[in-house]
Amino acid sequence: MAQYIGRKLGYLVLTLAAVLATNFTLFHLMPGDPVTHIARGQHLDAEAVARLRSFYGLDMPLPSQFITYVAHLFRGDFGWSYTYQTSVGPIVAKALGNTLILVTISTLLVIVLGVLIGVFAASRRGTRTDGGLVIGSLVFWSLPTFWVGMLLIFVFAVSLGWLPIAGMFTADAVYPTVFTKIADLARHLILPTVAMVLVDIAQFVLISRSSLLAVLSEDYMTTARAKGLSPRRVLWRHGVRNALLPVVTATSLYASATVGGTIQVETVFSWPGMGQLIYLSVVRRDYPVMEACFLVFAIVVVLANFASDVLYRLLDPRVRLT
């Protein structure tokens, strides 16, 4: 097992290096040097141009450029943003924190609810409820996330006025206590979370349902019942416990999909996270910010894949002990 993790770690490092190289290629080697790109969109004085050139190291040969770039990254220097007039690092860090709030809650909901609904559908196999859930999942998968967000805002915020239209907090709000601040945050979280959950949950429902259905027909399920175990124990300890394995594999695909969902939802709801940041950086052609966002997204997904691989190994003894 330790050997396996060691191997996977090595592979992880290689992948991260490849991500860095890809990032470098994309943003530094594209037609026209990056300074030109940026200068095109902004009005830059000589000092700004000089700072840019030094960050990108454009007068050096390519390999040195790459090394300079990586060195900068390790020092925490992600460049200078012209729209925010400050260095990129702190901007990204703050946005990342905001995104994590949204993503953590919605991911928990997606996995837990998705599996529960999938298990429910499998236990009602063949009935109209099950058929309805499957069709429903397909329909939900076909909904564009950003459009779902727009609909939610229109119905619940604009027409009904129950919830805020956008943002993470009410503008210019004063909070007498921490609790009122958290309450305001919670109110702003509801719609974006619903938007993120609605589309992604379908995937988990379908996977856990088909996985459990396959497990239910196995002999060891009959053995468990024959032993006189309670139906609950049979379903969860023997059924779901085995059905979860493909679901864990699915979470690695989910990580990449979540990134896409985050970008769309944050854009529509003006949630000040990484998703909105990368969107705005495109609108304003702020390449250093775009580059940093891409890097963070890629690293997070690579790490999530790694974690999901290791988790699977831990859960499946057939794989763990060979």
Partner: protein, 304 residues
């Protein structure tokens, strides 16, 4: 042994594999399946609208309002779906968007399938080093989150529908390649291939006459699902502002709606119809694709 071998047992394996009756049999099973039937009907309806749609709405797509009163009108007898911020008829735009979205989805899928199949077949056939290298590359692309990659490329390359097609294909080919590779590996193990080798058929010959037809069925089922995904991807990219402002795709309409504040101001006729259009088209292809997959995938069929 010289000359081409006319051994009938080496005739290209039926592309539809185990399904009786070839492609017509597949179609029959597709229609028999409730999900497939509904999906197929929806696809046909969508194609009809794409082709004949623009004829339904009498307005020129680019005609703008003469005065301020013509903008952002809610639906009326004159404009069934109202007008946008420039006074253009929305129904006309939505109908025109059908063909644009379909077009992009189909072209992107074509490229995706070509690349994915080529990589998958080569990896599955040659195995060993070639397979390892190709799969490492494929896995790497799979790990890169697709939307940020598409956004980055879009911003760098510039806005155009060609860019969108290229960028969608670039992020979609890996999953197709994986599917094709495992099927190619399975076909490779079949007796027919071993016999072909002993008879002296060249690698290229086997690839063309046995492996490709063997994976074709799965490729087609997968392609239909890729169409659905591509249409969704294009809508998302155009919505985020990376589309071509001069071509009316549904995503582009939604982008215009969003930046005009249609949501906050409640202009539901502006953003509801294009979204519904997307859902219908994507759902249509998803239904057909899922149904086809169930019919054509030998592993799923064996389990049924």
């Amino acid at each position: 042994m010289t000359g081409p071998m006319m051994n009938p047992s080496l005739d290209a394996a039926p592309a539809t594999g185990h399904v009786a009756g070839g492609w017509r049999g597949v179609l029959r099973q597709l229609v028999a399946d409730r999900m497939g039937r509904i999906g197929l009907l929806m696809v046909v309806a969508v194609v009809l609208v794409a082709v004949a749609g623009p004829l339904l709405a009498p307005y020129d797509r680019t005609a703008v309002a003469a005065s301020r009163t013509g903008i952002l009108q809610s639906p009326s007898a004159a404009h069934w779906l109202g007008t946008d911020e420039l006074g253009r008829d929305i129904l006309r735009q939505v109908l025109a968007g059908t063909s644009v979205s379909l077009e992009i989805g189909l072209i992107a899928t074509l490229i995706t399938v070509l690349i994915g199949t080529a990589v998958g077949v080569l990896a599955g056939w040659f195995t060993g080093f070639v397979d390892a290298v190709l799969m490492r590359i494929t896995d790497f692309f799979l790990v890169l989150p697709s939307l940020p990659l598409m956004i980055a490329l879009g911003a760098i390359i510039g806005q155009s529908l060609t860019m969108i097609v290229f960028v969608i294909a670039l992020t979609s080919w890996p999953s197709t390649a994986r599917i094709v590779r495992s099927q190619a590996l399975a076909v490779r193990e079949r007796e027919v291939v071993a016999r072909a080798r002993t008879v002296g058929l060249s690698s290229a010959g086997i690839l063309w006459r046995l492996i490709l037809p063997g994976v074709l069925a799965l490729v087609i089922a997968n392609a239909v699902l890729v169409i659905a995904g591509s249409i969704l991807a294009e809508a998302t990219l155009s919505f985020l502002g990376l589309g071509d402002p001069t071509r009316t795709s549904w995503g582009q309409i939604l982008h215009n709606a969003f930046v005009t504040g249609a949501v906050g101001n409640g202009y539901w006729w502006y953003f509801l119809p294009p979204g519904i259009g997307i859902v219908i088209v994507v759902l249509a292809f998803s239904l057909v694709g899922q149904s086809l997959e169930r019919i054509l995938d030998p592993r799923l069929a064996a389990a049924a």
